[in-house]
């Protein structure tokens, strides 16, 4: 492997990605916003502290997607490794290929662009990525002829960043599941052969289960994939376009073992819908889920999180099999106080749900969607599952009545412990040729929804900080920093509504547009991406 000489292929990302966020995945969301109320250095320390590295600059933990690419290349015999962005200079003499993955290179995705739109300030992930690409080490690598390959769930953003593409000399962009592509591309790069500018990997070239390798070193916060793809077919989502595959339990346990062996004691089960692991269509089955949780809790000594779960699956699993209470009471809560998960509400409008996500409520009919959401929130509250829920504003065909229905639903969710965050519509999945939601599309009804969500999330965030989250003594300074931030937002609440209302009535000057003219003639536009390297799947 030429360990002492350095690596030929360096896989990396900027600091906002290459961090374990103090072991608290939710804190990673701060890395998608601008520094608010505190200096940027302090914000970055709260959101994305540096990781421990060995003398070659290899981090103890790294984003899961980068670990997959590393495993594919190492298993194929390449001299490749994930290197911390502050240490790539150590490999300048040997590096021939620099591979950079990201979940949001330019802050065009949510929630970065919501932060950007609301505050008018560039999110730190964008600032940090630009700083990395302009760093002396990257510039020197390029000067020496190193090939630069970009990838990850935000690969599409390069299509709208041509100036940066040219300026930084990007040689190739890989968009999609990379397992079957990456060795060929790297080999061409090492042989000095011309690379394609852009590769989009379609569903037919997605790897089969046997072609997905086990990671060779630890992933951030112990994230391990349990399945890929999703059967629900929501029109705004790209994951649903990929074939559905379940990773075998042995594969999952091997990855947890790699994490534990490397000092990462916790696990995050990653899937677009954890409860659909080996399910009967969209109906969760008790047996595989119990087996999974039993084995995972035995395999690691720390705590467990779920990356995503659908609200319909939560309701069905509990109503039909009492499965949520069983999993929580028998396997999870004996070891931890709560379980975190991301869920999607997206809309409270039955009309809109029927158009854009007719199977999101399945096995219940779309007419029952608001009821499914409310029931699932109640079930989660009763079982100490704390969801971070998303609501999409500006969906195609959205009408004021739809926004009001969403507002009414969020109002009914008030009693349930949760964070609810807005996302502006971005063209993905079957809707990917539609237009971005823009700042000038903000309506008065949106302002009401945004304020209701902010109020809800602030109330519960304060409660979570005092009772559940970051109770560890060593995290006291971080807890204090977050509390200061929440207090700052609380103090400034009275200024937010008028600012949003001015935006809705078109009375504010435009902020710098996150997207170039053709994609965003004015205002903010963002796009959701979920795949193996996202914040939602880091």
């Amino acid at each position: 492997m030429g360990m002492s000489k350095g690596f030929e292929i360096v896989i990396t990302s900027d600091r906002t990605m290459m961090s374990n966020h103090h072991g608290k995945e939710f804190l990673g969301f701060m890395a998608t916003g601008p520094a608010i109320g505190i200096p940027e250095r302090l914000w970055m320390w709260l959101a994305a502290p540096k990781l421990k590295v060995d003398k070659l600059g290899r981090p103890v933990e790294a984003p899961y997607g980068l670990r997959k690419v590393e495993a594919v290349l190492q298993n194929a015999g390449f001299n490749a490794a994930v290197i911390d962005p502050d240490h790539i200079h150590k490999h300048l003499d040997t590096m021939k290929v620099l591979m950079v993955g990201h979940h949001d290179f330019f802050a065009y995705g949510p929630p970065s662009c919501e932060w950007w739109m609301m505050t008018g300030k560039e999110p730190v992930n964008r600032v940090s990525f630009r700083r990395f690409m302009n760093s002396p080490a990257v510039r020197e690598a390029k000067r020496r002829g190193v090939k630069i390959i970009m990838g990850g769930p935000a690969a599409w953003q390069w299509l709208w960043a041509l100036e940066e593409w040219r300026r930084w000399g990007v040689d190739c962009v890989i968009d999609g599941e990379a397992e079957l592509v990456v060795t060929d591309v790297v080999e061409k790069a090492l042989n000095g052969e011309p690379l394609p500018d852009y590769i989009y990997v379609g569903p037919a070239d997605s790897p089969s289960i046997n072609e997905i390798p086990v990671i060779n070193a630890a992933s951030v916060n112990g994230l391990v994939e349990i399945m890929r793809g999703c059967p629900r077919g929501c029109k705004f989502c790209s994951v649903t376009l990929r074939p559905l595959r379940f990773l075998p339990l042995e594969h999952i346990l091997k990855e947890i073992e790699v994490n534990v062996r490397n000092g990462v004691k916790n696990a995050i089960l990653h899937s677009e819908d954890v409860l659909l692991y080996n399910a009967d269509g969209v109906k969760p089955r008790p047996e595989p889920l119990i087996k999974l949780h039993e084995a995972v809790m035995k395999a690691m000594p720390g705590s467990l999180s779920w990356a995503h779960a659908s609200l319909a699956a939560i309701k069905y699993a509990e109503d039909k099999h009492r499965l949520i209470s069983k999993l929580m009471n028998e396997y999870i809560l004996p070891r931890q106080e709560f379980l975190g998960v991301e869920v999607g509400i997206e809309t409270g409008s039955v009309r809109l749900a029927k158009i854009i996500m007719p199977a999101k409520s399945a096995p219940y009919p779309p007419e029952k969607w608001p009821e499914v959401v409310e029931d699932a929130f109640r079930i989660m509250h009763e079982n100490k599952i704390i969801p971070a829920a998303t609501v999409i504003l500006g969906l195609p065909e959205e009408k004021p009545d739809d926004i009001v229905a969403t507002l009414e639903l969020i109002d009914r969710l008030k009693p349930y412990r949760s964070l609810i965050v807005p996302m502006f519509f971005v063209p993905m999945g079957a809707l990917k040729n539609r237009d971005w939601f823009r700042r000038y599309g903000l309506k008065q009804e949106h302002v009401e929804v945004l304020m209701t969500m902010l109020d809800h999330s602030l109330k519960w965030a304060e409660e979570l900080m005092s009772k559940f989250y970051m109770s560890e003594t060593m995290l006291a300074p971080v807890r204090m920093g977050i509390k200061l931030f929440l207090a700052f937002v609380r103090r400034n609440l009275y200024r937010i509504r008028p600012a949003l209302e001015a935006m809705a009535s078109g009375q504010v000057e435009e902020v710098e547009s996150p997207l170039p003219a053709t994609a965003s003639s004015s205002g903010c536009g963002c796009r959701v991406s979920a795949n193996m390297d996202g914040r939602n799947s880091k």
Partner: protein, 126 residues
């Protein structure tokens, strides 16, 4: 240990020659025509060879619509050069390609006519 194959995903691909003369107002149609050309042959991969006086990566201003509107096809997009000579080379090295011209550039069109390649012009005017 290392694989000695080329880009696997460029094998069994429909070859598409795409001349991008400049920004066009009808990129959606271009996207749909390219998609159709691949689908007609029941292939799921496209190797898109771009010749454009706009240079790389500026030609992406047009081609990104083709990529963005696509869901099911694996695409490898390669920039092959700026000039009519580059286009001649691309034509020679391509097997049964579909060809498209985005915008208006008669000199490139002449190369395709001389080579006997059938092509479709998509520009902002149609």
């Amino acid at each position: 240990m290392r694989s000695k194959s080329g880009l696997r995903l460029e094998e069994n691909s429909k070859e598409v020659i795409l001349v991008v003369c400049g920004p066009i107002g009808n990129a959606d149609r271009l996207a749909s025509e390219v998609g159709l050309a691949v689908a007609r042959e029941r292939l799921r991969r496209a190797l898109i060879k771009v010749v454009s006086p706009m240079g790389s990566p500026n030609y992406m201003e047009v081609v990104r619509t083709v990529i963005h509107n696509n869901i099911g096809i694996t695409m490898s997009v390669r920039f092959m050069g700026r000039t009519t000579d580059d286009l001649r080379r691309v034509v020679k090295s391509s097997i049964n390609p579909a060809a498209f011209i985005a915008g208006n550039c008669p000199e490139y069109e002449r190369v395709l006519i001389e080579s006997g390649i059938k092509y479709l012009v998509v520009d902002g005017g149609d």
